[in-house]
Each structure stands twice: as structure tokens, then as C-alpha cells.
Symmetry: C2
Subunit: 211 residues, 2 copies
């Protein structure tokens, strides 16, 4: 199967698990382990072996019965599948506490995400280093996007400015947005939008707590 | 249908959308709008009317054809369903930038989540106010949990201490955990675990960007 065909056959819900397998395998690789069974991997990520085998079956049959998967090869296949064979340029808009926390997160660069700029509207913040060089003013956003190939814009502003900023970056050609602002944001296709929402997470917990 | 029966019929994937409808309806309510059609609500949240009607059908047929939903009543039903008819006590463990950003997020209290304590292991942070009164030392965690009814523990520590802390709070009886630390955490049932993971979010984007 070609890479493109293989990817289109992978269900959306499988992708977060593949990401978790990759990171667990990278940790395992750093302990100099070279092969791993679906049972061992399942134990490490807290799932069941059948789920692992099903998820990895999208990559063809390269696990060997009774031996397991070659860790290096599995990592390389997962990285290819997840688009991590190359690097992606990222900007953060909103250099407050959340934006700074994300900028300082070390796992970021390790996986090939290059944080190439941070933006804020507050003159008291512009020019300071919040983890990715001097913070730039949002007025210069379009100019920066013209000169730099930005693949992902992370939005960590308060609610009010978030949607207009998302509109600005996608209009300027940024193909994907990860929104942390507490709004239900929208984008126009083909832009890709993911949202991380504290309120929703808390409500999912209270839904279950109240059962 | 009783509340319990009704809740158990709601699919997991519907809950985040109900949370979004609730917050949009609260915003609409604050603009003194009293009824809303599924078409209007769909436009506001960026989905389609059929999805809205399907999601709200779990609450019985209280939308009126041609008129729409009563905003107050729909809010009240959604709050009941999402367990927001009551309040929940929350602690944050990890009073760094991310923990502080979450503590200062104003939407928190508004929905009935009471932040009753923050914990950290760093003596330089303990005693300072990071948005929820003086930060306590994690050594006092079990003692605090014995004296206070905590429903949700939010973990915003680095990777290393996260799993042991999750084990400590669940052993002490905290029924749910929201983990922001960059690990694939686990809990033992019946504890409920949700994870927000920057790496996974970025990898989902790169998966789609590379298609």
C-alpha cells in the first residue's frame, strides 16, 4: 500500500493512540530495548494487546509472531504515518502564562515542531523572551507569515481576540490551528482546527462523576 | 426516562458537544435571547442543525417545531445532564506557569468548579498565591484530602512526578483526574482520567498536514 493510501485508511480515533505508542516506544528505545511484543507495549501504555495489534495492522504485517515488533522500525513507521518524518514550523499567539508554559515545554522541539515565533498584543510583553526569542507584536503577524512558512498557529489568548486572530492566520495561509482560548472557534476548510478546552474537559469529568 | 437512564443512553462522543452548546447558550442567554432554533444554534456553534437535533433528542422532545428551544430550559437540562446542577471541588497539583494559567482562568468558577487548593513541591513556590490562595506543599496532600472532599485533581507538573501524584490522589479517594503532564498516565477504576496532551494534539495536526 502506498503511504497516501495507508494514511487514508487510518481512522481519526486511532491517531491519538499512535501518537502515544510513538512516545512510549521512544522512551523504550532510550532504554536500549530493540524488540517489543504487543503484550509488553500494551502494558506500558495501559491498553490491551488486541487494541495494539489492531492499531498497528494499518502499517502492514511487520510484527513477528512470538518475537514482537522491531522498536526502531516501528518508531520509523509511526513517524512517517504521523507526518513526523519532516519538521513543522509553529507560532504561539498569546505570550501569557499558558503561552509561556507551552513555549517552555521541552517535548516540543524533540518531535520536530520548531517554535519560530511568539506574538502578543500587550506592549509590556512585546520584546521579552517568553521561551522562543523576543515576543513580536500581533500587528506584524501578516508580515511575518509572508516571510516565514508557518504550519501551525497555537492560540493562547483570552476568549475575545481568539477568533479574529484565527481568521487572520488562516487567511494568511497557515494551514492549521491549535486553539486553547475558551471559545468554540471555527475555521474555513481546508484549514485544520483542533481545540483544547478546559471547560469541556471539566464537564466531561462532572458528567461521569454525576452518573 | 429517568435522569440516570437518560444519561446512560448518551454516547461519550456527544458530551463535549453538549458542553459547547451549554456555553454558547449561556452566552446567548446573557444577550436576553429566550428561544433559539436548531438552525440558529447550529450557526452559532459552527455545526449543522441535524447534529444539534440529534444531540438534543437525548433529552426528550422539548423543542417546538417552528419556534425552537426555550433557552433557559435547555440550559437547565444541559446542566443537569452534565452534572453541573451541583458544584465540584477541584485542586491543582503543580503551581508552575500552566497550573497558574489554569487557576487564573475565569470560566472555572462560573460553571460550578471550586478551586479549593493548589500544591507544589518547590519550597520557593509554596506559600505564594498563584490564583487560589497560598500554594501548599505536596507533602500535605493526603492530609488535605482527608479533611476536604475533592472531586477533581488537575495535574500540571512535569512528566516525572505526575504518575506517582496521580496514584496518591486516587488512593486517597479523589474520583477523577485531569492530567496535563506530558505522560500517558493511568488510573485504576473506578477513578476517571482525562488527559490533555500538547504532543498528541500537535501530532494529530501533523498527521493531517502531511496527507
Amino acid at each position: 500500500m502506498s503511504q497516501a493510501n495507508r494514511k487514508s485508511s487510518i481512522p481519526e480515533a486511532t491517531v491519538p493512540r499512535l501518537s502515544q505508542y510513538l512516545r512510549k516506544l521512544q522512551e523504550i528505545q532510550s532504554r536500549d530495548v530493540t524488540t517489543i511484543s504487543s503484550r509488553q507495549l500494551a502494558k506500558e501504555v495501559g491498553t490491551n494487546p488486541a487494541q495494539i495489534r489492531k492499531d498497528l495492522s494499518y502499517f502492514g504485517e511487520f510484527g513477528i509472531r512470538g518475537v514482537g515488533y522491531d522498536v526502531d522500525r516501528l518508531i520509523s513507521e509511526l513517524k512517517k504515518c504521523l507526518g513526523l518524518w519532516r519538521s513543522w514550523n509553529v507560532i504561539i499567539i498569546g505570550a501569557g502564562k499558558l503561552g509561556t508554559a507551552l513555549a517552555l515545554y521541552r517535548g516540543f522541539q524533540k518531535q520536530g515542531f520548531n517554535l519560530i515565533g511568539m506574538f502578543d498584543a500587550d506592549p509590556g510583553v512585546v520584546g521579552r523572551d517568553r521561551g522562543a526569542g523576543p515576543v513580536m507584536h500581533v500587528d506584524g503577524l501578516e508580515d511575518f507569515l509572508k516571510k516565514n512558512d508557518v504550519h501551525i498557529a497555537i492560540i493562547t489568548t483570552p476568549a475575545e481576540p481568539a477568533q479574529p486572530l484565527i481568521d487572520r492566520v488562516t487567511r494568511a495561509g497557515v494551514p492549521s490551528v491549535l486553539n486553547f482560548a475558551p471559545i468554540r472557534a471555527t475555521t474555513v476548510e481546508p484549514a485544520i482546527l483542533r481545540q483544547v478546552d478546559l471547560s469541556t474537559e471539566l464537564m466531561i469529568l462532572s458528567f461521569h462523576l454525576d452518573k
